[in-house]
């Protein structure tokens, strides 16, 4: 099936490469470089100019909350890019095609909100190679189920670690939407939308391992060079 792991393998993934971990650690490195300074400058800016925009509100957040927000942003990037590419592939039909339009639009709205809040502290969008999974309906749905269940577990794992109440309020409001998405994709795939009475959380390490095992996050292709042109002239 194009070398793509099955749903079950998804959940028992082995740590093979550190793509998402690299993204996370780059985010962390960026934070340690700019984060505290950014927060300080932002707070000063708010006082001096009296702004109350969302961006300035974000400037007062604890560094650990900014880190959690960036972690959530990477997962939202992953989902938004996944659904958008699938919609564009033209490979989906029927109720699945309809669902993807709605869910994709929602995830894109999430990405936009995170980026607006985090401003210059937002991690950059990774490059995703979905290796054909967005171009065939069954593999797409299988992966969508896994991604949504993963997002639910991720938000659940982070919620108790959030320090700011405003961030927690935002997180829970998105967490339940991801759970609706999870049920929706399961229903489309033909499996039960809610298996257990209690959904379990997942640690960041587990989430990172699973995402890394997909090899979906790749390096950006570099299309510029300094070579001398050898065109016909």
């Amino acid at each position: 099936m194009n070398g793509f792991p099955h749903f079950d393998q998804f959940l028992t993934a082995v740590d093979r490469d550190a793509a998402l971990a690299e993204t996370s650690s780059r985010a962390e490195a960026a934070l340690s470089r700019r984060g505290l300074l950014g927060i300080t400058l932002g707070a000063v800016g708010a006082i001096v100019f009296g702004k109350t925009s969302v961006a300035e509100a974000g400037a007062g957040l604890p560094a650990s909350d900014v880190d959690i927000l960036n972690y959530a942003l990477v997962l939202e990037y992953l989902q938004a890019s996944f659904y958008t590419e699938a919609e564009r592939s033209g490979a989906l039909s029927g109720a699945t095609a309809q669902a993807v339009k709605v869910v994709g639009a929602t995830e894109r709205a999430h990405v936009k909100a995170f980026r607006e809040l985090l401003g210059s502290r937002a991690v950059a969008r990774p490059t995703f190679d979905f290796q054909g999974v967005t171009e065939q309906q069954r593999p797409f749905l299988r992966t969508a189920v896994a991604f949504e269940d993963l997002a639910v577990e991720a938000y659940k794992g982070q919620a108790p670690k959030v320090r700011s109440n405003a961030v927690l309020a935002a997180a829970v409001g998105i967490h339940s939407v991801e759970a609706r998405h999870a049920a929706w994709m399961r229903e489309l795939f033909g499996i039960t939308p809610a298996v257990n009475a209690f959904d379990r959380p997942a640690s960041r390490a587990k989430i990172n391992r699973i995402v890394a095992s997909t090899h979906f996050i790749v390096s950006r292709p570099r299309m510029k060079a300094r070579n001398k042109p050898h065109f016909t002239g």
Binding site: M1, N2, G3, V54, A57, G58, L61, T84, E85, E87, R88, S89, G90, A91, K101, V102, G104, A105, T106, R108, A109, H110, K112, A113, F114, E116, L117, T127, F128, D129, F130, Q131, G132, E135, Q136, S164, N165, A166, V167, A169, A170, G173, I174, V218, P221, R222, M223, K224, A225, R226, N227, K228, P229, H230, F231, T232, G233
Partner: protein
């Protein structure tokens, strides 16, 4: 009991809260949570820090073009099947040293469930397409720009979401070494090489000269600046599309690599 004035104020303030809330039917004590129906004592949730806007459907999709790069050396076939005729062999790099960029047209599941992708091939005759295994390709990138070069009017126009955002006069090939017509892709961007002939920036394309077939590196058509701006507009090149340097610098700020190129 002796109280400092501030503490006295605080305690009486608490009583005022109680007076306020008395109307809500909640009895109020200093240290314990309100009892009775009590739910009024639970604070409402604070405003969430994220302002999520209204979800928007994809728009302007008719202006979307997709591209990818060759991830591992592979063959392009005439049909979505490994047993069909090989149309071209593709390496991972373009002659100019950048990844080998291919425009993605569509995908199809072949026999056995394998995914094949129809791509434009940088081979002669110009306009050749072929099917490549999805596994040999990298991530899909999207652009919403397209560049049109009109050989009759000697003009290049860049469109963004269908709207013209740039236009400039160009030099094209002579009758002996013409710029070929067809649908191609801007596949690389070269800068900081030392060659005034090509100007400050040169773009590689997937178009090839149909006559200069023995040219080093395959005779690819480029889009580049010039040290002879007086010749533009005109039919003056060996096939390349030349622009005045200030124009190509302007274009380079608007046109991402991967932009489709239509030469008419």
């Amino acid at each position: 009991m002796r109280h400092g004035t501030r503490l006295a104020a605080a305690i009486t303030a608490a009583t005022f809260v109680g007076l306020l809330l008395a109307g809500l039917g909640v009895s109020h004590r200093e240290k314990s949570i309100a009892t009775a129906t009590g739910f009024a004592a639970l604070p409402p949730a604070p405003a969430p820090v994220l302002k999520v806007g209204r979800p928007k459907m994809l728009s302007g999709e008719r202006y979307v073009s997709r591209w990818t790069v060759v991830r591992r050396p592979t063959a392009a076939h005439a049909a979505p099947s490994a047993s069909s005729v090989v149309v071209a062999r593709l390496g991972v790099s373009a002659p100019e040293g950048t990844p080998n960029l291919l425009a993605v047209l569509r995908a199809r599941t072949g026999a056995g469930g394998a995914l094949w992708v129809l791509v434009r091939l940088p081979v002669l005759p110009n306009g050749t397409v072929g099917w490549v295994s999805r596994r040999s390709l990298g991530s899909y990138q999207v652009v919403k720009t397209h560049l049109v070069v009109d050989r009759r009017r000697l003009q290049a126009t860049l469109y963004q979401n269908g709207k013209s955002v740039f236009t400039a006069p160009v030099g094209v090939g002579t009758a002996v070494a013409p710029t070929p017509a067809g649908d191609f892709t801007i596949r690389s961007k070269l800068t900081r090489y030392a060659s005034p002939f090509y100007g400050p920036v040169a773009f590689g394309t997937t178009a090839r000269s149909a006559v200069l077939t023995d040219w080093p590196d395959g005779g690819f058509i480029g889009l580049h600046g010039t040290n002879q701006p007086g010749l533009i507009p005109g039919r003056i090149s060996h096939g390349c599309i030349r622009m005045r340097n200030e124009d190509i610098v302007r274009l380079s700020r608007l046109m991402p690599v991967g932009t489709p190129l239509a030469i008419r």
